[in-house]
């Protein structure tokens, strides 16, 4: 039990303490302390346990399931109460069903099942702990000043910061638990806490829209939880297995087991917002930015893919494997296509998150070493880059008063720091030597080798589209516009600290990806699959990539002195000869001075959200049904 104390309990304590704080100073102190603690503890923990797999058996603590059940009852009660009072009966029904099922199962059926290693912390768990601890901690740190400014900008919302921070830390604790538990029932418990935190944070502002979206998220997540529960119950009753370690040893030819695996995978798909469940993630963007960053992009949605990675040994070339891979592929393309037509930065990030999670899901479900390597790499890079992007968008919003991509033109003239972070974040998401691309490369290799041509095609188109919307955003930021636009843009220490550390992490992790691969991912895969495996990117290519990276950072340094030595004659912009002189306006037709406005393309005619959403959902459902029918009953 002792190993849980440092991480989970610390977070819980902070969550509890901060709930009853009132003043800004108190918040700042406690949250900073909490954030620093979480970061340090997770690093220390990771370093200490780096070379050994930590296992722990709770068989001596049989009683623990009663408090857990009680807490679950509490949660279910709360959800049912909120559901009924807001007339969202579906939520209440799902929650009740789930609790009934799990309570029945645990109280009457579970006794004859032996669970070994309730806690099992291997390399991938360790990696997740690091992500949750470091990225999550930085996000918490960031949120101190952010929330202060948030309430300053939005006086119309009730200031419930104590509650906000408290849920944030509660969630962190739950996430730690989620990645540590090997026992599925305990994992399910953490799973529900994360769903609940998500619900609470989305509804933070208590506006109608927020509450509605919160319920959408809850309904999907509780539905996922229900699927998860059914899966657990089936596994428990049919195969007498309740932990992942044993699950892996089951044969993947057994129809009932595979059905249970598919159900658990559906749970994972809901949490990671795959088609057709992806709508909730977009709604979640109404929440304050730190919660979007921590819950809806870097950690909580990763719980879904983490689950699928855990299930990976049972997936692969079978019906659930194909289904999940296909769902991931379609989601990847759908997310990328839809991001084109968005102009709200957070919406873009949300769609891109959905899209990338799709790719991760696809990779995880292929169950080949290369694919798994790619999936885990993607999780790492995505978590860092997305967290950075979300936080930077939050800062940008506070500086220019909008998170519309179109109003970010010339951001580089307004705030160098923020735009640098934004550029690094965007670059991290798709530009060649950066991390996401390396993982995508591995994913592509894995896809070709496993012969998934359809998904391969989807990836080819999806990545191209991805490039389109990121580049146009990047273009807006670096545009040489609105030189005169100056805004008071003092970044607070907390914001700076977290933005800069995340930016540095994007670069460092990318440059150091061979190390991550060598010391974390490869051992995990070797261990898990029992094969000899090395990084899919060959060393020469890795060297070239790192060289490219260095060049990208060195070239500007070479050019700077050259520029100072050789100044070009400034010239006005070509405006068909109608310039007024300030490069931002021209003489209009009616004799007025007309300012030039340049807006990116959104192609909303082609990329209609509703149309594509229904098509993608339909395809996913049809393929899912077909494969279930084909795989299980034929």
């Amino acid at each position: 039990m002792s190993i849980m104390i440092p991480l989970i309990v610390f977070s819980l304590v902070i969550a509890l303490v901060v709930r009853f704080m009132k003043t800004q100073k108190a918040f700042a102190f406690t949250v900073r302390l909490g954030a620093a603690g979480v970061i340090v503890l997770s690093i220390v923990y990771a370093v200490c346990n780096f070379n050994n797999v930590v296992t722990f058996d709770l068989s001596n603590y049989e009683w623990i399931k009663y408090p857990v059940l009680a807490l679950e009852l509490l949660i279910t009660g709360y959800i049912v109460f909120r559901g009924i009072s807001s007339k969202k009966f579906l939520v209440a029904i799902f929650a009740t069903l789930q609790f009934g099922l799990i309570a029945w199962f645990e109280l009457t059926q579970e006794n004859n099942i032996t669970v070994k290693n309730d806690i099992y912390i291997d390399k991938i768990s360790l990696l997740m702990i690091l992500i949750i601890g470091v990225v999550g901690g930085l996000i918490c740190l960031y949120s101190v000043e952010y929330m202060k400014a948030y309430h300053h900008h939005h006086p119309e919302f009730e200031d419930r910061r104590g509650f906000f921070f408290s849920v944030l830390f509660l969630f962190t604790a739950a996430m730690f638990g989620l990645v540590m538990f090997n026992n599925m029932t305990l994992m399910l418990f953490c799973w529900e806490i994360t769903s609940l935190s998500s619900f609470l944070l989305i509804g933070y502002t208590k506006t109608d829209e927020a509450v509605n979206n919160a319920f959408t998220a809850l309904v999907v997540n509780v539905f996922g939880g229900l699927c998860f529960t059914i899966g657990i119950v089936i596994l428990g009753m049919h195969s007498h297995v309740l932990d992942f370690n044993s699950l892996m040893n089951l044969s993947n030819n057994n129809t009932v087991v595979m059905l249970a695996v598919l159900l658990i995978a559906v749970g994972g798909l809901t949490k990671s917002a795959q088609m057709p469940f992806s709508k909730w993630l977009l709604g979640a963007m109404v929440a304050p930015t730190p919660s979007s960053a921590i819950l809806h992009s870097s950690t909580m949605v990763k719980a879904g893919v983490y689950l699928i990675i855990r299930l990976a040994p049972l997936l692969g070339s079978n019906a659930p494997g194909y289904t999940v891979a296909f769902v991931g592929g379609i989601t990847f393309m759908y997310g990328a296509f839809m991001a084109i037509s968005q102009r709200d930065a957070k919406k873009i990030l949300a769609f891109s998150t959905i899209s990338n999670l799709g790719l991760i899901v696809t990779c995880a479900s292929l169950n080949t070493p290369e694919a798994l390597w790619a999936a885990i790499m993607l999780i790492v890079f995505h978590a860092i880059s997305k967290a950075l992007l979300f936080l930077t968008v939050g800062s940008t919003e506070h500086q220019i008063g909008s998170r519309d991509v179109e109003s970010m033109d010339g951001l580089v003239n307004v705030s160098k720091a923020v735009s640098m972070c934004l550029i690094i974040g965007i670059a991290g998401m798709f530009i060649a030597p950066f991390g996401m691309l390396i993982s995508k490369w591995a994913a592509i290799k894995a896809l070709i080798d496993s012969g998934n041509i359809i998904i391969l095609l989807i990836v080819a188109f999806g990545s191209t589209v991805t490039m389109f919307f990121w580049t146009k955003w990047l273009g807006k930021i670096i545009a040489n516009a609105h030189n005169k636009k100056k805004i008071d843009n003092t970044l607070r220490f907390d914001e700076k600290a977290s933005l800069f550390s995340l930016s540095a992490m994007v670069v460092i992790v990318c440059a150091g990806h061979p190390l991550i691969s060598k010391y974390i991912i490869t051992p995990y895969i070797q261990n898990n699959m029992g094969i000899n495996f090395s990084s899919p990117i060959d060393p020469v290519a890795t060297t070239i990539i790192i060289a490219m990276m260095c060049v990208l950072f060195i070239l500007p340094l070479i050019f700077v002195p050259l520029y100072h030595a050789h100044k070009e004659k400034p010239s006005s912009i070509y405006m068909s000869g109608e310039n007024t002189g300030d490069d931002e306006s021209f003489h209009g037709s009616l004799g007025q001075v007309q300012s030039v406005e340049l807006q990116n393309w959104y192609m909303q005619g082609i990329f209609k959200e509703v149309k594509w959403c229904s098509w993608a959902s339909a395809i996913v459902l049809v393929v899912g049904l077909l494969s279930i029918v084909g795989g299980f009953f034929l």
Partner: protein, 360 residues
Amino acid sequence: MGNRTIVPFGPQHPVLPEPIHLDLVLEDETVIEAIPSIGFVHRGLEKLVEKKDFQQYVYVAERICGICSFMHGMGYCMAVENVMDLKLPDRAEFLRTIWAELSRIHSHLLWLGLLADAVGFESLFMHCWRLREEILDLFDMTTGGRVIFSVCKVGGVRKDIDAEKLKKIVEVLSNMDSSLRSITKIFLSDTSIISRMSGVGVLSPEEAFDLGAVGPMARASGIVVDDRLLGYGAYPHVKFEVQTATEGDCYARTKVRINEIFESISIIKQCVSLMPSDTAIDVPVKGNPDGEYFARLEQPRGEVVYYVKGNGTKFLDRMRVRTPTFANLPPLLHTLKGVDLADVPVLVLTIDPCISCTER
């Protein structure tokens, strides 16, 4: 607002042969609104009648526009001749008609070339202009000028075309026929061009009337109007058909103009064969114009209206010209809405704009 692209289009712009300015409001690449601004070519030629006498003014009228230069001179002369009640010798009328129709061919070929250029088809542009040079050589041979002929005068024409040169004209036109047909066929049948023109800038007959379209623009929308049927010049003596189309889009306008080229060739051939043997090419002009008259004639771009008001002195009171492009601007602005930026040059071209005519 704030979410739309607003860009200046012109006055200096590679696809605009002449300066005109449009404030283009775009969404993606679709034009939401186009507000025109003219005046870059406004010189004030109508007022120049007060400084040049009515005979000298022919040279100014010719320079209202360098493409349909001859037709401007001719229209002005027609108006003055009507005020002064002059009856021209038949040969002068036939010569004028030949030059007018040659001008039409040259103008339409020029336009076809520019159209090809606007849709990004450079080689076709080159071939069109190569053919056009053959017509210009005919001008060089018969009038001594490639662009501005200076052959019209009040009371007739200043140069005769002798039989040999008339034969040469027919010969050149006949030789051109096959290459002309193969070039124009490309415009009418090549899928890549059709995809740029078909369905772009559709103007229904009702809209064409409501917006006051004239010339090929109106004819392409199915309105049968051709001022040559008014019976000026030698047109009463020759047979020709008014070319119309029904689609009302850029493709229809191209089709109409291409058919007009062949119609013009036939008119010229008829004129040459019907050419009166009487050698008088002008009548003496006595006195000064007194009175007013509206002359209308069909330019390559459509109907031009000349209004002349004399007061008995050699300086006119008022000379007014309403050129076809002026009338075709409203349909242009109407059709610009909702097209792509890439279509803007194509659409601007399909009215065959002549800004120097428009602004004078």
